[in-house]
Structure formats: structure tokens, C-alpha cells
């Protein structure tokens, strides 16, 4: 993309010139190069995420593998960011304006991000539960020939699956999970397919009033792009990292069941389009935001690609089992279609089986990384605070 290249170097040149007035030493130039490299990498990485094809199931937007890539990029960006911030030749910078204000704000967001990580880790447990239910559907429909028993078995698991996805998605899941108790008078239900008892949803790990959406919203507070001369210093990578962190957490919450996600799409990112590195993030934000709006209208499950597939296939197979019970034996094209859908569901389950645990561990890695950086920054601030102020 020659246009953006030009833009990057153009912007870069302006900032270099501006800074030459402030400081002319070589170290500063090195720092500027680092900054430029950082934003270049950021924009490249997110451009790659934006360009991931929707039709290829493996890398589709918000699929497990896509999320893993996102987290990978987060870790890379974070490492570079820390390098810029901490390896600089003047450690006292972090205690001087504007960083003396920006760093504590960044640390505050970090802590909020940690809680999001935990909520999402917990949410993955629900996804894993869906997977197990879907696997039952698959084992029922894999039998040949499919008879009434298999169809009923599949239907039962499907009903559990769909309601579990819905319960988790009704946001009040945490409250519901604890209020619900296994009914003792269940024998009163006389229908042949009793209400399945596979309810299991997000356990409330945090207080009932904790809200993922509010948490993300709170992370965007005070998040404004650096203005004027600030834009050329370390304030800009801090801002960039803030945006990346908020975006990654936002995307995770959009994809994976979490406590209270209402109004997620309304969260506004204060990332100006003229910033080169921000364009892909803005693009992704818009794209996922639209998906979320659709979801909110339809009231479907989370945006995790595999879950959406599961939901879609679940609905189709549910129709199939319904018509099976109505018509009795089904053969020919319909049966073949059902088998194909079951195979697709099996494939989705397989991807979950392969990807969910690594994803969970990666989220944990992100968690630990954020903690580590926070500790290091606090120590650095502490050190700077202890050393006597430079004589002026």
C-alpha cells in the first residue's frame, strides 16, 4: 500500500522535525524510530486480522483461531510497548508530565482488563459445556440409520444446547445459575421429552452487579488521543497500547459469554481515523459492532464464530428432529442433508476441542503478562519516586 506508506513517513517526518526542535540528540532519534516501528507493527498486525477471510472457516473473524491470533498480536504489541517505555534512556520520563498522569491511567485500565480476562476465562467454561452438548447431538445423529430414538436423543441435547446458549446470553445468567435449583417435583412433567436438565451456565465468579459492558465502558473513560506536542513523545505509544488493550478486551467480551454484555456495541472508541495504525482497529470495531447489533436484534448467542455455527446448525437440526418426529422415518435427501449438517457440527466440535483449552491458556498468559508489566511499571515509578529529583 504505497499510500499509507507515504502517509506514515510523512507523519513521521513531521514528528521528527517537531522533535528536533526539542531535542537533537541521537538517542531521541532512536526513540522516534522505535515509536514509528511500533505503530507500523501495530497497523500491520491489525490489518492482517481485518483481512482474514470470512468464508474460510478456520480463520474467520472471531473464530477461535482468529482470537488466538488476536491475543498473539496483543502479546507482541505489549512486549514492544514495554520495551519502548522501560528501555528508554531516561527512566524518569514516566514520572514526568504527561506520563505521570497517563501511566497510572494505563495501569488502572490494566486492572480492569484483568477482570475481563477472568470473566472471559470463565465464559469459556460455558462454551466448553456447549461443545459437550453438541457432541451428544453428533453422536446421536452419527448412528445409521437414524431412528426415532436417535432423533429424540439429538433433540433432547439440542434443546439443552439452545437453552443453555440462551440462558448464558440473557445476561442475567449469573443470577439465574444460582437461583435455579434442581426441581424435586419433576415427575409432574408428563411430556415424553421432559425439559432437559443440562442447564449449566456461567458461574458467578464476581459480584452479581459486575458487568462486562460497563467494565469496557469504564476502560474507555479518559481515553483521548494525545494532542499537540504530546503526540510525538511517549504519550502516543501509551495511547496506542490503551486502544489495543480496550479493543482486545472488547472483542473477547463480544465473542465469549460474559456476565452482562448489554450495550456493548454502543461503546465508542476514541480512535481518530487519521492515525494510520488505528485504521484497521476501527475497521474491525465497526465490523464486529455491526455483527453485535445484528445479534442484539436476533437475540442469538455470542459472536464466537464456532458458537454461531453451532447455533445455526443447531436450529437446522432441531427442525430436522421435529419433522422426524412428525413424519416418522426420513430417508433420502433430507437424511443426507441432516448427516451433512451433523458432520459439520462434528467438525465445529473438533475445532473447539482443539482450540478452547489453548485459547483459555492464552488468555491466562495475557493475564499474567498484564500483571507483570503492571508490577514492573509500579516498581519503576517507585524507583523514580525514591531517587532525588534532578536539580534544575
Amino acid at each position: 500500500m504505497p499510500a499509507t506508506d507515504y502517509q506514515a513517513s510523512f507523519l513521521g517526518r513531521i514528528s521528527i522535525r517537531r522533535n528536533q526542535v526539542i531535542a537533537m540528540d541521537g538517542n531521541h532519534e532512536q526513540e522516534l524510530q522505535d515509536l514509528e516501528l511500533f505503530s507500523k507493527h501495530v497497523s500491520e498486525r491489525f490489518a492482517e486480522l481485518l483481512s482474514s477471510p470470512d468464508d474460510v472457516p478456520f480463520d474467520a473473524l472471531l473464530s477461535i483461531s482468529w482470537l488466538r491470533k488476536l491475543l498473539d498480536f496483543f502479546l507482541c504489541c505489549e512486549a514492544e510497548f514495554k520495551g519502548i517505555l522501560m528501555m528508554g534512556n531516561d527512566p524518569s520520563q514516566i514520572s514526568k508530565p504527561p506520563l505521570d498522569r497517563l501511566i497510572p491511567e494505563f495501569l488502572d485500565r490494566s486492572v480492569k482488563a484483568l477482570d475481563v480476562c477472568n470473566a472471559v476465562t470463565n465464559g469459556l467454561e460455558s462454551v466448553r459445556h456447549y461443545q459437550k452438548l453438541a457432541e451428544i447431538v453428533v453422536s446421536a445423529l452419527e448412528q445409521k440409520p437414524i431412528g426415532d430414538g436417535q432423533s429424540r436423543r439429538a433433540k433432547k441435547a439440542l434443546t439443552s444446547l439452545m437453552s443453555a446458549m440462551n440462558v448464558d446470553d440473557k445476561e442475567c445468567s449469573a443470577a439465574k445459575a444460582t437461583e435455579r435449583s434442581w426441581s424435586f417435583s419433576r415427575r409432574g412433567v408428563s411430556s415424553k421429552d421432559r425439559v432437559p436438565e443440562h442447564f449449566r451456565s456461567v458461574s458467578n465468579q464476581v459480584a452479581k452487579n459486575w458487568s462486562a459492558a460497563k467494565q469496557i465502558q469504564a476502560m474507555t473513560n479518559n481515553l483521548v488521543p494525545p494532542r499537540g506536542a504530546e503526540g510525538s513523545g511517549l504519550a502516543s505509544p501509551v495511547y496506542t497500547m490503551n486502544v489495543i488493550m480496550v479493543f482486545v478486551m472488547w472483542a473477547l467480551v463480544a465473542a465469549i459469554p460474559c456476565q452482562e454484555r448489554n450495550g456493548l456495541s454502543a461503546i465508542h472508541f476514541p480512535a481518530p481515523k487519521q492515525l494510520n495504525w488505528a485504521q484497521s482497529i476501527i475497521g474491525l470495531h465497526e465490523k464486529i459492532g455491526e455483527e453485535w447489533k445484528k445479534k442484539e436484534k436476533k437475540g442469538t448467542a455470542g459472536l464466537l464464530d464456532e458458537m454461531q455455527k453451532m447455533e445455526k446448525l443447531g436450529n437446522i437440526l432441531m427442525d430436522f428432529t421435529d419433522s422426524f418426529q412428525f413424519h416418522g422415518d426420513i430417508t433420502g435427501q433430507k437424511a443426507e442433508e441432516a448427516a451433512a449438517h451433523a458432520a459439520e457440527l462434528a467438525e465445529t466440535c473438533r475445532r473447539m476441542e482443539e482450540g478452547l483449552l489453548p485459547l483459555q491458556m492464552q488468555i491466562r498468559e495475557v493475564f499474567h503478562r498484564i500483571v507483570k508489566t503492571r508490577t514492573e511499571l509500579l516498581n519503576a515509578l517507585d524507583q523514580v519516586g525514591k531517587s532525588p529529583p534532578p536539580l534544575l
Binding site: 451428544i136 426415532d148 430414538g149 434442581w182
Partner: protein, 647 residues
């Protein structure tokens, strides 16, 4: 397959079968009671035989008549429960075993029907569908029975004989070194019950007899390939039960943000709860849950560890996150003991955790807890350092009134008197910081004559802390303008330190040498006090001309007056001073008395001629009595008391 085999006359095979059949008949002749297993085998055999014979004339489909009959019979047994509102297992063991038998029969029929090749036989297909339908109905029912059973017998009480968290150490160090001004440190009670007491404490989460029932359901469901349903239902109920137990332990559902913002007082309570919950959840519930999973699912491959992990994971994550939040928080000195509790608890449990999650899927849990243990170790070190820094840097602007025992001394001494209980942990964690501290405290204790307890890392750290305290107290003593009060202050505080060391578990870590040395130190201050205060007063009574036998009246009067004024001044000042320790106060009074009263008595005795009421403001007895008012911490004035006595 079976069809093929039976169609081909295989003599050898037949002979074997015939021999075996004879054998069975013979064996059955002697038995009156059939074991369940044997009965099942014979029923299977029966089903098989009926199919083989029917197979011979399968073309007409008449051969399926018997299978159909059996299916109908078993159908009745299963369907009848569908309209019943009572649970089968609640109705009695006989009903339950009949039902299980029926399900077995369905499974047998299905297996046999499947065993026959599908040669477009409509009847066979129909029967198979009917049987599968029936099986689904039965499985669905069994799942329900299972859930009902698990819910009904989920034991709420749990480990009732365990000490409750309220009976354990609930002493909270509310005060911090920073906010010491008025409050005195609370005497801390001893540590709660020893952590290895609860070690492995396995309870029956589900009563023994119910486990057998659950197992019988598991067996049938797994045999019919409904293991997934079994696991999901099992996990669902057990997971909820565990979460309920966890809720009973009253762990606040705290986000990391909450924890970091929390006031120390509530945080300390939460830290205590965590320590307690870890012991109960891992040491009792998870141990027991693991056993339950093994008992119920042990024979079905690795599902037991999978189910266990699924049941445990969310609760574990909750505990893990609180631990992480604590490990990342600022490590203030007052957190040290709670952190030590957390560290020790986890360190004790790590082996159990490794054993509980030894399978592949559990490596995540294992790793996280090992990481947390490291984090807590760092936190302990950080809090320890913060404590040390706080002890040496705690500053005051004003002298501590009365020269008594400073709150910092109380706080520090009470706080460190808890350390010996964490001796091995502290030794382990402070080992790497040992050498520099040991060189700081280059006292004979660390020398070759030192015993093991005085030379360990903790002992050196303890002495380094008290020596920081001492230098801080010296700094604080300089705030008094009165040199005598400086000595009283140091005497009081050093004496307090020695007493604390002598009267606690600290003694072996400080050693007799330290005690001797510090006894000498406070005694030195005692002597210095006497010198500074009383030498000048007593010198007023000194004989200027040792040669002459007595003084002139005016000289005597002058000396008397001088003494009274000086004594009254001391009295006015030092009655407001404070020596909290009665023994120390007594000792000091005695030695003061010896010095002052003796001098005064001698002085008066040497001048018997002038001794009359008018000259002498205070008699020897007065002085002796008045000396008792010193160091009581309540200011008095002699002029006032005189006046009061007169009026």
C-alpha cells in the same frame, strides 16, 4: 455376521459350543441362586439364541415374532414408569433392579438386532427403531433418576467436625506502622490450627449406598453409549454442589479491582477466608470429589478425571483469582502475617493439587497454582521488606509524652513475636536475603558459638529488625529536651523489648547473649538517668568543708532550701513521666531512694542542731514517700499538694 456363522456348518465350532453348553447345564444344576452377572450372561444368551433360531426362517419374518414379544414385554416395563410420578429409585431397590434389567434387555435386543446384517428387512429395521426409541426413553429416564438422586443426597453439612473459621485466629492487625500515633498494638493471640491438621480429610459427599445406585446407572448408560449424557448430568449437579459449598464459606465474589481498592481491615478478613477456603475446598471437598469421581467413573477410562476437572474448575479459578489479586497488590507491612498464612496454606496444598490434577487436562491448574505460590513468596518477601523499612523509617515530629513504651515498640515486638510460628517458611523465603542481613547484624550470635536457632535466616532478620527499631528509638529519644527523659524513654523501650523477647517464642532466636547485652543497655540508661537527674540534687547536700563537723545555721538553711527547690522541680516534672512496668518502676525508685534518701538522711544527721520544722520543708519520710509518686504518669505539684494538705 452371526447369520454367516450359523449358516456355515463348522464342526469344530459346534463341538466347542456343545461342550460349553453341557458344562453350563451341569453347573446350573448345582446352583440355586444366580449371581447378577451370571443371570445377565444367561439372559444375553437367551436373547441370542432366540435370534439365531428365528434367523433360520427369517424370510417370512415370522422369526422376529419372539423378539417382538420380548420387546413388547420390556416396553411395558419401561413405559409404565413414564406415567408414574414417583421416581424409580425412591420406590425401592427391587423396582430399580427390575428397571435396570429391563434396560439391559433392551440393549441386548438392540445389540442382537444390530448384529444381524441389514438385508433390507423391514421388520428387523422397525424392531431396531422401536428398541432404540425405547432405549432413548429409558436413558432419558435414567438421567433424570441420576439427577434426582444426586440432588437429593447431596450432603450439605460436609465436614461438620472441622473447626469453623470463626474459631480460628481472627486477630486482625488493624493498625499499620504508618498510623501508629495513639493506638497501641493489640496483643495477638496464637496462630490458628496447624495446617497439616486438615491435610487430607475425605468425606462422603454422597452416601455410600447411593454411590452404588449411581454406579449401576453409570454402568448401564455407558454400556448403551450414553456416557456423555451421564457425565454432563453428573458434572452439572456436582459442580453446583461444590459451588454451594464454596458459597457457604462466604467468599466474597470480588473482582481484582475490588480487592485492590479494599480497606485493610476487610481485606484481612477476606485473606483469612481465602486461607480457610483453600484448606476446605482442596483439602476436603476436592479430595472427596475426586474420590467420588473415581468411585463412580473409575472403570470407564479417563472420564473420571475429565469430569472432576469440569466440576472443580470454576471454583478453583475463583480461588486462584483472589490469590492473584493479593499477590499483585501493594505489599504493606501489615499484610505480612496474612500473606504468610496464604503462602503456607498453598505450599501445604501444592502436593495435593499436583495429585488431584495429575492428568493432562489438569496441567493448567497445576501450573497456575505453582505460579501463584511463587507470586505469594515474592509478596511475603516484599511485605517483609516493607515492614523493615517501616520500622526504621517511622518518624515522629513530637516526643512521645511521658517517655513510656512507644507504640512502635509495641507494634514491632508484638508483630515479630508471631514470626516464630512461621519460622520454617520465613527461613526458606528469607534465605537468599540472608547474607547481607547477617553481616549487618554482626553480633556474636551469628558467630561460631551460636546455636542453630540464633543463626538461622529468620533470627538474623529478627535481630536486624530490632536493631532498626533501636536506632529509630534513639532518633525518637532526641526529641526530648530533657536528657533524663531521653534515658527514661530508652530504658522503658529497651526493657520492653527484652521482656518481650524473654517472654515469648522469640527467645531462642535472640539468644541469651542478646538478652544480656540489652539488659545491660537499659540498665545503663537507668544509671544515666539517675546521674543526670539526681547527681546535681544530691550534690547540693554535699559537705563543702569535709573537715568541720557541722554547718552554720544559715548555710544549712541555704542547702535545705536548695535541695527542696530542686527536689520539688524534679517531683513536678517526673511525676508526669511514665514507667509502665511496675517492677522496673519499683527498682528505679529503690535505687533512687537509696541514693537520695540516704544522702538526705546523712545530711540531716550530720546537722542535728539545726533540725527543726521551720528549716526543713521535707522530712526524710516525706522524701521517701514522695519518691513513690514519680513515674506514675500523672503530673503533680508539691506546692499544690502542700496547700491541699494544709487546707
Amino acid at each position: 455376521m452371526d447369520e454367516c456363522q450359523s449358516a456355515i456348518p463348522a464342526h469344530d465350532g459346534d463341538l466347542h459350543v456343545v461342550a460349553a453348553a453341557h458344562h453350563i447345564v451341569k453347573a446350573l444344576g448345582t446352583t440355586k441362586n444366580l449371581s447378577d452377572d451370571l443371570r445377565k450372561i444367561l439372559i444375553d444368551l437367551d436373547a441370542h439364541l432366540s435370534l439365531i433360531t428365528s434367523n433360520i426362517d427369517s424370510k417370512g419374518g415370522k422369526g422376529f415374532v419372539e423378539v417382538e414379544e420380548r420387546l413388547k414385554r420390556v416396553e411395558r416395563k419401561i413405559v409404565i414408569w413414564e406415567s408414574d410420578r414417583i421416581m424409580i429409585w425412591d420406590s425401592g431397590p427391587k423396582e430399580a433392579s427390575n428397571y435396570l434389567e429391563a434396560v439391559d434387555e433392551v440393549q441386548t435386543l438392540i445389540d442382537s438386532l444390530r448384529g444381524l446384517s441389514m438385508n433390507e428387512n423391514q421388520k428387523q429395521k422397525e424392531l431396531l427403531h422401536r428398541a432404540s426409541s425405547l432405549l432413548q426413553m429409558a436413558m432419558s429416564r435414567l438421567e433424570e433418576e441420576l439427577i434426582h438422586m444426586l440432588v437429593k443426597h447431596k450432603q450439605q453439612s460436609g465436614p461438620t467436625c472441622m473447626p469453623s473459621p470463626s474459631s480460628q485466629r481472627n486477630v486482625v492487625y488493624h493498625e499499620s506502622v504508618v498510623s501508629l500515633d495513639n493506638e497501641s498494638a493489640k496483643e495477638a493471640s496464637s496462630k490458628n490450627f496447624c495446617s497439616d491438621e486438615c491435610g487430607e480429610y475425605i468425606v462422603d459427599l454422597v452416601p455410600e449406598h447411593v454411590i452404588l445406585d449411581i454406579k449401576s446407572i453409570a454402568k448401564v448408560m455407558f454400556a448403551s453409549d450414553y456416557g456423555q449424557e451421564f457425565c454432563e448430568a453428573f458434572i452439572g449437579v456436582r459442580k453446583e454442589a461444590l459451588e454451594q459449598h464454596f458459597d457457604i464459606l462466604e467468599n466474597g465474589k470480588l473482582s481484582i479491582e475490588d480487592v485492590l481498592k479494599m480497606e485493610w481491615c476487610s481485606l484481612s478478613t477476606e485473606m483469612n477466608k481465602w486461607t480457610w477456603s483453600m484448606k476446605i475446598i482442596f483439602g476436603v471437598y476436592l479430595m472427596s470429589e475426586k474420590r467420588l469421581c473415581d468411585q463412580v467413573l473409575g472403570e470407564f477410562g479417563s472420564v473420571n478425571s475429565f469430569c472432576f476437572l469440569e466440576i472443580a474448575k470454576t471454583t478453583i479459578l475463583c480461588l486462584l483469582n483472589f490469590g492473584e489479586a493479593i499477590a499483585m497488590g501493594p505489599q504493606e507491612p501489615e499484610k505480612l502475617l496474612r500473606l504468610l498464612d496464604m503462602y503456607e496454606t498453598l505450599a501445604d496444598l501444592v502436593i495435593d493439587i499436583d495429585a488431584l490434577f495429575s492428568e493432562n487436562g489438569g496441567s493448567f491448574v497445576r501450573l497456575e497454582f505453582h505460579k501463584l505460590l511463587e507470586g505469594l513468596a515474592d509478596s511475603v518477601k516484599a511485605a517483609f521488606n516493607a515492614f523493615r523499612v517501616a520500622v526504621s523509617s517511622n518518624g515522629s515530629l513530637y516526643p512521645f509524652p511521658g517517655g513510656g513504651v512507644h507504640p512502635l515498640s509495641k507494634y514491632v515486638m508484638n508483630y515479630i513475636s508471631m514470626f516464630p510460628e512461621y519460622c520454617s517458611t520465613l527461613n526458606l523465603l528469607l534465605e537468599d536475603q540472608h547474607s547481607d542481613v547477617a553481616s549487618l547484624v554482626s553480633e556474636p550470635q551469628c558467630g561460631p558459638t551460636a546455636s542453630l536457632s540464633t543463626s538461622c535466616a529468620m533470627a538474623c532478620h529478627l535481630r536486624s529488625i530490632t536493631s532498626s527499631l533501636e536506632s529509630n528509638l534513639h532518633k525518637k529519644s532526641k526529641l526530648y529536651k530533657d536528657e533524663a527523659l531521653q534515658h527514661i524513654f530508652l530504658m522503658n523501650n529497651l526493657h520492653y523489648m527484652v521482656q518481650k523477647v524473654k517472654g515469648s517464642e522469640l527467645r531462642p532466636f535472640f539468644g541469651d547473649e542478646w538478652i544480656r547485652k540489652h539488659n545491660a543497655k537499659f540498665q545503663q540508661h537507668e544509671m544515666n538517668y539517675e546521674r543526670v537527674t539526681w547527681s546535681s540534687v544530691v550534690s547540693l547536700l554535699k559537705d563543702d568543708n569535709p573537715g568541720s563537723s557541722s554547718l552554720s545555721k544559715s548555710a544549712f538553711k541555704e542547702k535545705c532550701k536548695g535541695f527542696s527547690v530542686a527536689f520539688e522541680e524534679v517531683y513536678k516534672n517526673q511525676t508526669s513521666w511514665c514507667i509502665p512496668d511496675p517492677q522496673l518502676r519499683e527498682d528505679l525508685r529503690i535505687s533512687t531512694s537509696l541514693k537520695v534518701v540516704h544522702a538526705y538522711r546523712t545530711f540531716l544527721g550530720r546537722n542535728p542542731a539545726h533540725v527543726d520544722d521551720k528549716c526543713i520543708k521535707h522530712t526524710v519520710e516525706d522524701v521517701e514517700k514522695l519518691l513513690l509518686d514519680l513515674f506514675e504518669g500523672s503530673p503533680r505539684s508539691l506546692r499544690n499538694s502542700r496547700r491541699m494538705m494544709k487546707t
